[in-house]
C-alpha cells in the first residue's frame, strides 16, 4: 500500500493491490515489467526524451524567458484502464457532453433552466464568459462544443469524479498521440501481448467531425483550417501537429480576411474561402470588431460571417460559460435538467465562495481545501491547502476576502496513483485523466486520452506548467 506525505494518508494505486499483487488490468503488463532489466528501461527513457526533443514536441512556459521551449516529461509505464471501467466512464462523459450542449443552446435561447430556478440568472448574465453576441444564434448542426476534454480523477476502485469540463479549446491531444507512437516504437511487444484500443485515428475523426458540421453557406467539399495564435503560443506544436495530421492549412489571423461575406485565407493563388475554422484562439481575441479591439490574433468581421451562416467556428464562441468553475458546481442539476437522469459521473463537492456561508467555511478550513480561480486554468493562481505554507495560506485568505466571487473551493481528493519509473525502480505518483470527445451528429470518445502525472512524490498538481509529466493511456479490449 502506498503512503503519501501530507494529509492524504492512503491513495488508491491503479497498478498494485495492497498485497503487492498487480490489479487485473495490469497483470500482463506487470509480468512483462518484472522480466525487464531496469537499466534497459532507464536507457529507453532517455531514448524517449531524445525522440521528443528531436521531433520538437515542446511547449512554452509563460514567464520563463530563458526556457522558451520545454519538454513535457514522459513516463514509460502506461496507465491502463479495463474495458469495463472505460464503458462506465464513456457513458458518463457522453451524458455530460450532451448536457453541456443542451445547456449552451438553452442559455443562448429560451433560458428555461434559469426560469426553472435551477441556475441563478446573475451567474450567467454577469459572467464574462457569457457572450451576448451568441443570443438567438444556433451554430451549424446545433453543436457548440465540437471538441471537449473532460478532466477525470479517480479515488478508488469505482470512484471517479469529473474535475473540469474543458469546453473551450482543450489541449494535450498531440501528447496522447505522440505518447502512443513513442510506446509503440520502443516496446512493440507490449502491443502484441495486450489488446490496446487504438487512438491513432483521432486526427481523421476530428477532420470528419469538423467537416460534417460545415455551415449552410458551404457548397462542395468543406475546407477546414486550424487557427493558431502563432509560433510563440505555448501549444503551437500541437496546432501544427493537428493541421499536419488532418492535412489542412494552419492559419494565423494575419492570413485571414473577410471578403464578400466569407472568411478567406491569402494563398499563393489569391484569396480562398474557409468553411470550418478549428480555432485555438480564445473568444476575446477572435474578432477585434466584436471583442477586444486591440487583438491581432483574430479576424475582423468573422462574427458577422458566422452569424450569417457562412463559417463554422469550433468550438463555438461563448462555450466558456459551460466550463466556468462557478457553473461547474451546478453540473449535477444541469445534467439532470436536460437528460432527465441522475449524472452517471460524480462532481467533486464544491463550495462557491460567492456565498457567505461557504466563504466562511472555506476560510476556516483552508488547510484541507484546494481553492481555484473561477476563470483560471493551467494550475495558475490556485492554492493547495494541505501542502501550502502557513504564510501562503494567510496571503491567499486575503485574496479570497477581497474577491470572494472569483473563487471556488474543493476538498483535497486523494487522487489515485500509478507508478512511474525512477532510478531505484518504480514509485507511485498521483494522476488524472483527460479523455477527448468529438461532437457532431454523434458523440465519439477516443478510448484513452491524456494521463497527466505529478512527478514529485506526494504532489497533487499534475499540470505540465507546474512540472507534471504524461503517460500513454491504454484502454483494453475485453
Amino acid at each position: 500500500m502506498v503512503k503519501n506525505k501530507g494529509t492524504t494518508p492512503l491513495a488508491f494505486d491503479e497498478m498494485m493491490n495492497a498485497d503487492s499483487s498487480p490489479r487485473q488490468p495490469y497483470s500482463t503488463y506487470h509480468e512483462w515489467y518484472a522480466s525487464q532489466d531496469r537499466n534497459r528501461l532507464i536507457a529507453k527513457s532517455k531514448d524517449a526524451e531524445n525522440i521528443f526533443r528531436k521531433t520538437g514536441i515542446t511547449f512554452a512556459v509563460y514567464g520563463h524567458a530563458d526556457s522558451s521551449e520545454k519538454l513535457i516529461p514522459f513516463d514509460l509505464i502506461p496507465r491502463i484502464i479495463s474495458g469495463r471501467e472505460w464503458r462506465k466512464l464513456a457513458q458518463g462523459i457522453e451524458q455530460r457532453v450532451i448536457a453541456l450542449n443542451a445547456f449552451l443552446d438553452d442559455i443562448y435561447h429560451k433560458q428555461e433552466i434559469i426560469r426553472a430556478g435551477r441556475v441563478p440568472r446573475e451567474l450567467i448574465e454577469k459572467n464574462v464568459a457569457f457572450l451576448p453576441q451568441m443570443i438567438g444564434f444556433r451554430p451549424p448542426g446545433g453543436v457548440y462544443t465540437h471538441i471537449v476534454g473532460t478532466d477525470i480523477v479517480r479515488t478508488g476502485e469505482d470512484q471517479f469524479y469529473v474535475l473540469e469540463d474543458n469546453a473551450r479549446t482543450p489541449s494535450g491531444v498531440s501528447y496522447m498521440l505522440e505518447n502512443r507512437e513513442t510506446m509503440m516504437q520502443m516496446f512493440p511487444e507490449l502491443f502484441h501481448q495486450n489488446r490496446v484500443r487504438p487512438v491513432e485515428n483521432y486526427p481523421n475523426l476530428l477532420r470528419q467531425s469538423l467537416a460534417s458540421l460545415a455551415p449552410p453557406g458551404c457548397s462542395g467539399k468543406p475546407r477546414v483550417a486550424v487557427l493558431t495564435p502563432g509560433i510563440y503560443n505555448s501549444a503551437y506544436y500541437e496546432h501544427a501537429f493537428l493541421a499536419d495530421m488532418m492535412g489542412v492549412e494552419l492559419v494565423e489571423g494575419s492570413d485571414l480576411r473577410v471578403i464578400d461575406g466569407k472568411v478567406k485565407m491569402r494563398t499563393t493563388r489569391g484569396y480562398e474561402a474557409i468553411d470550418v475554422l478549428y480555432r485555438r484562439v480564445d473568444d476575446d481575441f477572435l474578432d477585434p470588431l466584436t471583442f477586444r479591439p486591440e487583438s491581432a490574433l483574430g479576424v475582423p468581421g468573422i462574427m458577422d460571417v458566422y452569424r450569417a451562416g457562412n463559417i463554422t467556428i469550433a468550438n463555438a464562441p461563448g462555450t466558456g460559460i459551460s466550463d466556468d468553475k462557478a457553473i461547474y458546481s451546478y453540473m449535477p442539476e444541469i445534467v439532470e435538467f436536460y437528460t432527465g437522469r441522475k449524472p452517471l459521473l460524480e462532481n467533486v463537492p464544491t463550495w462557491r465562495c460567492s456565498e457567505p456561508q461557504s466563504l466562511k467555511y472555506v476560510l476556516e478550513h483552508l488547510e484541507e481545501l484546494v481553492v481555484k480561480e473561477v476563470h483560471g486554468s493551467g494550475g495558475y493562481g490556485m492554492l493547495v491547502g494541505p501542502t501550502a505554507s502557513k504564510k501562503e495560506r494567510a496571503l491567499f485568505a486575503e485574496k479570497l476576502k477581497a474577491r470572494p466571487t472569483n473563487y471556488i473551493a474543493q476538498p483535497t481528493l486523494s487522487l489515485s496513483t500509478v507508478p512511474i519509473l525512477v532510478n531505484k525502480g518504480i514509485a507511485p505518483r498521483h494522476v488524472d485523466l483527460r479523455p477527448y470527445v468529438l461532437v457532431s451528429d454523434k458523440v465519439q470518445i477516443i478510448p484513452g486520452g491524456l494521463t497527466r502525472v505529478a512527478l514529485k512524490a506526494g504532489s497533487l498538481v499534475v499540470n505540465s506548467s507546474q512540472g507534471g509529466g504524461t503517460k500513454d493511456t491504454w484502454v483494453l479490449e475485453d
Binding site: 526533443r53 528531436k54 521531433t55 520538437g56 509560433i231 503551437y236 501544427a240 493541421a243 499536419d244 492549412e249 494552419l250 492559419v251 494565423e252 494575419s254 492570413d255 485565407m265 491569402r266 494563398t267 499563393t268 493563388r269 489569391g270
Partner: protein
C-alpha cells in the same frame, strides 16, 4: 498554399544557404591565414565585406582582429548573417511552416539547430575551428539530403528551391564583387604569388578550388575564374546555374497555377543574358558595374516573387 507558408519556406532555405555561405567564408579566411604567416586584417576585411557585414562589424567592434571577425561571423546574434543567427532564423521559419515539411526535413533542421546551439554556446577556440566548420557543412548537408530525398516535387519544393538559389546567386555575386579588382586584366597581368592567393581564396569561398581544375587548366586565370562563377552552367554556385534553377522552378509554378507574373519575365530575361553574354564582353564593359547591377536585379526579383505569390 498560404502566402505566409510560401514566404516561410523561401526564407527558411535562404537562411540555411546563408549559414553555409558564412561558414565557407570563414573557412576561406582561415585558409588564407595558413597560406601565409597569418591572415592580415585586410583579409578579414575582405571576408566581412563578402558577407555584407563590414559596416555592422564596426558598430560592434572598435578594432578589426581575426578572433573578433571569426566570432562575429560564426556566432554573434548582432550579426543577422552569422552562422548561428542564420540557423536560428532558418529553424524559426521551419517551425512556422512545419505542416509543409516532411518529418525528416523538419527533424534534420531541428537537430542542426540543437547541435549548433550547443557547440556555439561559447567562443570557439582556433584549434576547434576546422571541426566546427565541418560540422556546419555536415548538418546543412543532412538537411539538404532529407529535403531532396523526401519532399514531393510540388509548389512547396519550388518555393524552397527559389529561396536557395536567390540567396546563392546573391552570395556568389557579392564574393566576386568584393574581389573584382584582383580579376581585372590590368592588375592581373603579372600573376604574382599574391594574386594567386587572392584568386584561390575566391574559389575557396564557393568551394570550387578543385572543380576549377577539372574544367579549366590547373593554372588560375582571372578570366576563367570569372567565367566559372558567372557563366558556367555546370558550376552549382555560378550565377548562370542559379538562374537556370530559379527560372525552371518559377516555370513549374507558372504551369501549376496557369499564371505568369513580373518575376517570370525578370528571371527569364536574366537567364537569357547570362547565357548569351561572353565573359570577355562582361569584363570589357566593367565587371564591377555588371555585378552591382546583378545584385540589385536579384533583389528586385526576390521582391517580385514575394508580390506575385502574396507572401505578405
Amino acid at each position: 498554399m498560404l502566402g505566409r507558408t510560401a514566404n516561410g519556406l523561401y526564407w527558411m532555405f535562404r537562411y540555411i544557404e546563408r549559414a553555409e555561405n558564412s561558414a565557407r567564408l570563414i573557412d576561406a579566411g582561415l585558409r588564407m591565414a595558413l597560406t601565409r604567416s597569418g591572415a592580415t586584417e585586410g583579409d578579414w576585411d575582405g571576408v566581412l565585406q563578402s558577407a555584407g557585414v563590414r559596416e555592422l562589424y564596426d558598430e560592434v567592434h572598435e578594432t578589426l582582429t581575426s578572433i573578433d571577425a571569426i566570432d562575429f561571423l560564426l556566432r554573434d546574434r548582432a550579426n543577422p548573417s552569422s552562422v548561428m543567427s542564420c540557423i536560428e532564423a532558418g529553424r524559426h521559419n521551419a517551425r512556422m511552416v512545419r505542416t509543409a515539411l516532411t518529418r525528416e526535413t523538419w527533424e534534420a533542421t531541428n537537430e542542426c539547430y540543437l547541435e549548433m546551439k550547443a557547440i556555439l554556446s561559447r567562443k570557439a577556440r582556433p584549434t576547434d575551428m576546422p571541426e566546427i566548420i565541418d560540422q556546419i557543412k555536415r548538418r546543412a548537408g543532412l538537411i539538404r539530403g532529407a529535403f531532396h530525398g523526401t519532399m514531393l516535387r510540388n509548389e512547396i519544393f519550388n518555393f524552397s528551391r527559389i529561396g536557395t538559389f536567390i540567396e546563392r546567386a546573391d552570395n556568389t555575386a557579392r564574393i566576386l564583387d568584393v574581389k573584382y579588382y584582383v580579376l581585372l586584366p590590368a592588375v592581373a597581368a603579372v600573376g604574382s604569388s599574391m594574386d594567386n592567393v587572392q584568386w584561390e581564396s575566391i574559389l575557396r569561398s564557393v568551394s570550387a578550388h578543385r572543380a576549377y581544375g577539372w574544367v579549366y587548366d590547373a593554372e588560375l586565370k582571372p578570366a576563367n575564374i570569372a567565367d566559372f562563377l558567372i557563366s558556367n552552367g555546370r558550376m552549382p554556385r555560378s550565377l548562370a546555374y542559379c538562374y537556370e534553377k530559379i527560372a525552371s522552378n518559377l516555370g513549374y509554378l507558372e504551369r501549376e497555377y496557369g499564371e505568369r507574373h513580373q518575376a517570370h519575365e525578370t528571371a527569364d530575361r536574366t537567364l537569357a543574358a547570362l547565357r548569351s553574354r561572353s565573359i570577355t564582353d562582361i569584363m570589357d564593359q566593367g565587371l564591377h558595374e555588371y555585378l552591382e547591377d546583378f545584385i540589385s536585379q536579384n533583389n528586385r526579383l526576390g521582391q517580385e516573387i514575394s508580390d506575385g505569390y502574396r507572401f505578405n
